[in-house]
Amino acid sequence: MNLGIIELLGFGSQGWGGPLLKAAGVTLAAASCGFFLGSLLGICGASLKLARAGVLRTIGHFYTTVFRGVPEILVVYLFYFGGSVVLTNAMNSGGFPGFYSLPAFAIGVIAVGVVSGAYQTEAFRSAFLRLDRGQIEAGTACGMSKLLLLRRIIAPQTLRVALPALGNIWQSVLKETSLLSVIGLTELLRQAGTAAGSTRQPLLFYGAAAVMFLIIGRITGLILTRMENHLAKPWRR
């Protein structure tokens, strides 16, 4: 061992501290974007599953069944290879020969978003179903339009109920971003792998990645708990 642990993980010229920290930023960014996309998909999915029309419900059911039942890595492959096939065909037929692929970050966000969207669909749906019907009825009785009801009564109350489940989904999204290392996104795990390879210190660098995942999870978890407590304030006696 030529270099000590401090030098290896430090920020000096031989240290991997800088790249690792940057990679942690990529992890956080991919997870946040993916989770946000998942929220949009989750709201759409929940609306589909709660719709009156049977066709819409079937579509919503199909979405959650498939993307919660299939391994995440397979979904990553689907968008990685599928995206490049679609893009290459489109470019080739547009007169640009060659092979094209989407940026790994975009693919990663889509894959993570679609999977977490399926889980968030369930979170939003069950939160909505747990709402007290009287809350909605009181709004209807005051002459609120459907949109106003949704905005002023249903959305804030559903969010409050869904937040603990959403917090759990966020934690899995955070960990799922590690799968994006296999499609070349330089997030924490891939950066740790590069460092491990060039220094022959896999235990140290994968360990460092694990610790960084733990720290990010802890801090974001604390923020979410704060938010939960804040939103739960009206219900405390």
Partner: protein, 269 residues
Amino acid sequence: MASSSRLAIADTTEAIPAISTADLHKHYGGLEVLKGIDFHANDGEVVAILGASGSGKSTFLRCLNLLELPSAGRLHIFGEEVKLRPGDANLRIADRKQIDRLRTQVAMVFQNFCLWSHMSVLDNLMEAPVHVQRRGRAEVRDEAETVLKRVGLLERANAYPAQLSGGQQQRAAIARALVMKPRVLLFDEPTSALDPELVGEVLKVMRDLAAEGRTMLIVTHEMAFARDVSSRILFLEKGRIEAEGSPQQLFGGGVNERFDQFISRFSQG
């Protein structure tokens, strides 16, 4: 005491009923809950709607605010016919805007209060006037504070519903209805969810409102309250109006045998 002034108002405006229904029906699947109700309430009247559970009294009240859609029949609110069109089982709302407008004039007080749990009491009161009626915030706030003072809750304006007792919640819910300046107040068993010792404070507020000459339709099990405060009793049984009349007439006995049976069951407990 206050009954004379109330009757005076009722007499002058008898021409246009506040609410009237013609041959109102409601069924759930094969179960017929309302079997043709012809009813009208004049401006300033306080109508107590009585009946055993399952008589259809709550359903009837909820039809007046279109929380339940009737299966057949017609509904007029201040002479304006509520636009309904035929549907599968029940009639359907033909003009959502009309309904939403009329709903602000026919306010509802629920058995379970149904205050919005994520808003403070004051926000609960201001919600519909600001967002549905689009009145100015400052004016609504003043109005809300006046009404809160009236029901004795001004100092709890910033509390959340979960922090109030049942009686306080129901008084806040009545205040919420009042801030909309409705022309009719509907009460759906307003004291049934309350502990016995909290019933009085809610009934007192309702008594005051009645004394003001407000138009009120009250589904209730409080027989003494119905007898003392209402100007008219509507007694429903099995989805039909079984008896109707002034409290003096009906509670005097001998007018309707079933009503007498109903009352005697009550007084036995």
